[in-house]
């Protein structure tokens, strides 16, 4: 399997001879198996997947070796039996688990699989596009009226009926003054504009993530215009070879020109795939450079405390000519 081979090469590049993969998205990425409970992929010359009893039947058809474990100590024992020189652990590994796995071997902490996952394969791009199609079609089936919770419930219902495994994240429907909080939870308030709707679907474990803001009146329209201007410049800049931080700089620059730099209180976007938020981050400190076949979001937002907020978010496939994957109009 190419992904396993690429991972093994990454391990060697780092001067190690083993990686212990515990993040379930990474286990899935490398093995095609999605554990329903804790699982550890011991990645060395002969990869071994260690799963709990509940997963053993489902995992037994894999082409790599599968073993059952009861407690972390069983995994440690297996690792030590292979006598690794230097082991890579993932940054996401909980320290409680790490303290049970660490042994007499040297170790380092690196997100090697996250690096691989940034560049999407053809089949991954198809899955992400399908998730986005489900999300957009479902949105078209929902009336933006009534109370926030009803709109969110309808959207999630239609996504599931249309094949989404689950919402990519808690659907945000934040209206009126509540729209000034970028992560507002849905309420039973009757909506008034602006209405920020941030939603996504899941298809074969891949996600979509889109935001639209319904605006009315000059003040709200003006803010959305600024966001669309900023987003347009961001998309234009999102070419292979540029730093992810540069897109943030460009988008933030446009918003600053209009005097709203203090109202754009989150990053400009993020990679998306098996996780909704994955590298690269489109923010000031991100050194990763964009490459062909990355998929990112560009999502400028302006939040005016006590008044209202707005955000617009599309998914972009990085190519020589960056491609917006969304087909839904930016104004709803």
């Amino acid at each position: 399997m190419n992904r396993l081979k690429a991972a093994l090469e990454k391990i060697m590049e780092k001067g190690c001879d083993m990686a212990v993969i515990s993040k379930s998205e990474n286990v899935f990425y490398l093995t095609g198996f999605r554990p329903s409970a804790r699982a550890f992929l011991i990645l060395a010359d002969e990869p071994i997947l260690m799963v709990t009893r509940m997963d053993i039947d489902e995992a037994e058809n894999l082409s790599i070796d599968v073993l059952e474990f009861k407690k972390s100590e069983d995994v440690k024992e297996k690792i030590e039996s292979i006598s690794p020189m230097a082991v890579i652990f993932e940054p996401s590994l909980p320290i409680g688990t790490f303290s049970k796995l660490k042994g007499s071997f040297k170790f380092t902490i690196e997100d090697i699989i996250g690096d691989l996952r940034m560049i999407k394969e053809k089949v991954e791009i198809e899955h992400i596009r399908k998730a986005l199609r489900i999300a957009e079609e479902s949105f078209m089936e929902v009336e933006v009226q009534g109370v926030e919770a009803m709109i969110a419930a309808n959207l999630e219902y239609h996504m599931k009926i249309n094949g989404s495994m689950k919402p990519a994240f808690d659907t945000i429907v934040a209206s009126g003054v509540r729209s000034s909080n970028p992560h507002a939870e849905v309420s039973f308030n009757k909506i008034k504009t602006p209405v920020v709707i941030d939603w996504g679907a899941t298809w074969r474990y891949y996600h979509s993530d889109t935001t639209r803001t319904l605006v009315r009146g000059e003040d709200e329209e003006e803010i959305l215009d600024i966001l669309l201007d900023a987003q347009r410049e961001g998309v234009k800049a999102a070419k292979p070879g540029v730093k992810a931080s540069y897109i943030d700089e460009v988008v933030r620059g446009v918003i600053s020109e209009y005097g709203y730099e203090d109202n754009f209180i989150h990053s400009t976007g993020h990679g998306i795939g098996l996780e909704v938020h994955e590298p690269p981050s489109l923010s000031a400190n991100e050194d990763i450079r964009l490459e062909k076949n990355m998929i990112i979001t560009i999502e400028p937002g302006i939040y005016i405390k006590g008044e209202f907020g707005a955000r617009t978010e599309d998914m972009i496939l990085i190519k020589k000519n960056p491609k917006i994957l969304n087909t839904l109009p930016s104004r709803i």
Copy 2:
């Protein structure tokens, strides 16, 4: 605030003078504030909550000090400025973050807040009961017919309309042979019996978790009878003072009497509250003793590979006379 005081006492009991709380459920438990992004509660004589820019406005009304941080190093700096002797970190802390926070101080890894959270206060019991009531009422509004995904979508829709913030977890509707997988994902298959439905609601961040299995025919009825027998014995045994592992022993014992010990492939239950799965675990290695006002699930299951499976799950409030919180009949 009593919870903060209790946490500080726990810290001293462990011979430490600071804890760094990063698990969002624990931050919420101690401060009443639910961070939407990363947050660190530095718990010492003068507690300080460190949040990102996105959360700073929402957090500023808290009665404890709130500071903004940009990167983990800012949090480390703050910790070191207090010169702690010995710091408690949580087992759930990702090792990547831990490596940025650790300093010249001594540290230990303990889940002190998890210990506190096991015993539910009156208001917490009310929230959990409300979550359960929403889940059960919603279930009554849904017809168990058609395809699995449709039933799950309907259930989740009704829970949201009835006030649930979100499903407590991905709703399971697993029918026919798929019921033999305890964590089956919903499909677009038309249901046939048995139909295992495992669902929960969320109310003010507190969860419910219930399973019912619709059975038809003698074989399926017989399995459900065994599960109900096992569950009944488990509930009877769930008294203050007994080890959580003892409930597992009792329930597993009944299932073994009928010869199905190899088909009960998961633990007997778990604590529930701000997380769906929280301590204590009702499994063989759990040393924690039940105490008054814990809330646990008891959920025996029998899974016959290639044929079918069944599970029944209720929520139990630990009292001198353990109280089943569910009101829905065990046979649907």
